[in-house]
Symmetry: D3
Subunit: 139 residues, 6 copies
C-alpha cells in the first residue's frame, strides 16, 4: 500500500453550545468557544487514501479528481459557512473538530472507493495548535 494525501482548506464560524445546559455550564465546559455570537477558524483538511499505484500511470488516484470530490462534497458545504446553522450534514450535531472529521469521513469514504484504493484517514486542523485524525475506527 501507498498512502497519498491531498490538502484542502475552508474558513468557517461555529460555537460549542449544549442546548440542554445553562449558559453558566456551557461557559464552564466550553470556555471561550461558547461565545453566543460565534467565532471562527481557518480549517486545513488533509484527505489520505491508501492504495496500489496503477501499473501504467504510476498513480494511486487522480489527484485532480480527488481534489474535485473533496471540494464538491465537503469544502463547498463548509467554506464561509456557519457549522451550527448552515451545514445540512452537521445539523443536530456538536460542531467540534472531532465530530466534523468523522462526518467528513462518512461523506468521502464511498466517494473515493476504487478497486485499487480506499479512504485511509481524515486529518483536520482547527488551528496550528490542535488537530484531529480519524481513520474510520468505530467509536
Amino acid at each position: 500500500m501507498v498512502y497519498l494525501t491531498r490538502k484542502e482548506h475552508f474558513n468557517a464560524a461555529h460555537k460549542l453550545w449544549c442546548a440542554d445546559w445553562s449558559a453558566e455550564k456551557n461557559f464552564e465546559v466550553f470556555g471561550k468557544c461558547a461565545n453566543p455570537n460565534w467565532h471562527g477558524h481557518n480549517f486545513d483538511l488533509y484527505v489520505t487514501v491508501a492504495g496500489k499505484p496503477d501499473p501504467q500511470t504510476g498513480l494511486v488516484v487522480d489527484l485532480k479528481e480527488l481534489s474535485r470530490l473533496i471540494r464538491e462534497h465537503v469544502v463547498e458545504a463548509l467554506d464561509h459557512k456557519n457549522l451550527n446553522l448552515d451545514v445540512p450534514f452537521m445539523a443536530g450535531k456538536m460542531p467540534t473538530t472531532e465530530i466534523l472529521a468523522m462526518e467528513i469521513w462518512r461523506i468521502l469514504e464511498p466517494l473515493v472507493l476504487r478497486p485499487n484504493c480506499r479512504l485511509h484517514k481524515i486529518t483536520l486542523y482547527e488551528t496550528a495548535n490542535n488537530f484531529v485524525e480519524y481513520l474510520g475506527e468505530p467509536v
Copy 2:
C-alpha cells in the same frame, strides 16, 4: 533603528455586509464573505516596533511587556469574538482586515511609545493567502 516583531493570534467570526445595500449587491461585492450566518478565521497578528536597544540590556523593548500589552488591549477584545457584534472598537466599522489592522494600530500606538521606541507596523494575516500591513500612514 532596530525593528522588533512579536506575533500573537486570535480566532474570530465576521461577515462583510453593507447595511445600505440589497442582499444581492452585498453578495456581488463581498462574495462568500457576505454569508449572513457569519464565517471565521484564525488571525495572526505581528506587531513591529522600531527603536534603539537599551545600552545596558541590549533590548529595544521588554518582549514580555509588549506581548502583555497586545494581549490585554487587542487579543482579549478579539479572540473567540464576532468582529461585527462583540468588539467595541469595531462598532459601526466594516470588519475587513484593512480596517481591523488600522484600528489595532490606533490602540497600540500610544501604548508602546517609549523614549527609545515607537510602533512601526501592524501586520495582520486573515489566512495564509492574504494579509494586510499598516504603518500609520494617513489614508
Copy 3:
C-alpha cells in the same frame, strides 16, 4: 496607505544557461542550475498593492478580482511550464527569480492600477531558502 498582499503559486521547470558561454563556464557560474535537462521549483508568488480602503466597503481592493488577475495574466502562463521554452514574456531572458519577478511586475502594474490603489511589491520565493522582492525601482 494600507498594504494588502495576495499569495498565489505555480510549479515550473527552468535552467540557467548562457548560450554565449561554454558548458564549462555555464557550470562554473550557475552550478547545478545549469543541468541541461532542466530542474524545477514550486514558486510562491506574493503580490502586494498599496492603497486607501474604500470608505464604504473597507477594502483596498477586491481580493477575488486581484486573485483572478494574477492567475489569468501570470500563473496561467507559468504553471506547469518551462520558463525557458514555454513563456512568451520570458523569451530571450534569463529565467532567474530576479528577472521573473521584474517581468511579473511589468505585467501586473497596469492591471492592478485603480484610483485608490497601485502595485507596491512582487515577492517571489523559488525555494523556502531564497526569494526576491521587486518594488518597481529602476535597475
Copy 4:
C-alpha cells in the same frame, strides 16, 4: 520502538507521460503534468527509522550519518535533475510521487538497517498540498 525522522530536500523537473498513449490521452489523464517541456517541484523528503535508543548514547541512529546516507544515495541523484531523463534508478518508470517514494524506500532500506533500527517510512512532499507515504508494504 522509537521513531526518528530526518528531513532533506531536492528540486527536480519531470513530466507525466505514457509513451504508449496519444498526446490527447496523456493530457486527458495527466492534465498540466503532461506538459512536453517539463515542469518541476521543490520536493521535501522525510525519512523515518524505527528502533531502540542505544543505552549509552540515547540515540536510535546517528543523525549525521543518516543525513549523509540520504544525501549521498538519494538527494545527489535527484537534486537539480530531470526525473525522466537523468536518474538511473527511475529509468523506465513513471516519475510520480508514488513511484519515487517506493524507489527511495528500495534504496534506503538496506542502507539504514542496523541491529537496533530499520527503515520505517518514506514521506515525500511534491507540493505543500500533496504528499505520499510508503512503509514498505507490498503493492
Copy 5:
C-alpha cells in the same frame, strides 16, 4: 477511536556528552552537539490522545485541560532550562530527543488517562529537520 493532538513548545539548552568517554570520543560520536558550553533549540511538542468523543459535548478531551496538564507537568519543567542540569526527570539520562520524548510519555500517560481516552503518541521536534515519535512501545 479519534486522535486529537495538542501542540505546545519550549526552548531549552543541552549537550550530548557521555561522562565515561574522552572528549575526543564525545566529539567523534556527538559532533557539534558535544560543545562543552551547551547549545539549544526551540522544541515543538505534539501530544496525541486517542479516544471516543463524549456523546453530549462531542469532545474526546477538554483541550484547555489537556493544554494545562502539558504545560504544568512538562513545559514548566523544560522551558528556558538546561536539560542536563535543571530537569529532575532527566537527571542521569542522556538528553537526546529520543529519551526526552520517552520521559514525557512516562509523565503524561497516567495524567491524561480517562474512561474514554488515553495517551497515544508524543511527537517532539528538535528542529524543523528532525523529530521523534514515541507511542509507548517497549524499548
Copy 6:
C-alpha cells in the same frame, strides 16, 4: 533595485544576564531568559542584499557564494555554540537578538559589497513568535 534574500540557520545557547545587577534584578528584567544554566533556540537568519541583476546572468548575486559567505563568517561561529561564552564577536556584549542581528550586519556588510550590490537587511528569528530586522541604520 532588486532585493534578494538567502536563509540560513543555527542553533545556540545563551542567557540574558547583566553582571552589574543582583540575581533578583536580572530575573525581574529578563525573566526566564536569565536562567543561570542557559537555555537555547533554533535561530533562522535571513540575509537580504539589494542590487542590480547582471545583464548577462540575470543574477544580483551568486547565491552559492552568498550562502558560503554567511556560513563561513557567521553560522560557523554561532552554530551549536554558547552566545555568551563561545563567540568572539559577541564577547562583552548582551546576546539579545537585537545585538546579534547588528553584529551580523557589521560582519557581512563589507563581505557582500559588490559594484552592483550591497547588504540591505538582516532578519533574525529567535522563535516563530519574535524576530528582529536591522537595516544598518545608526542606533
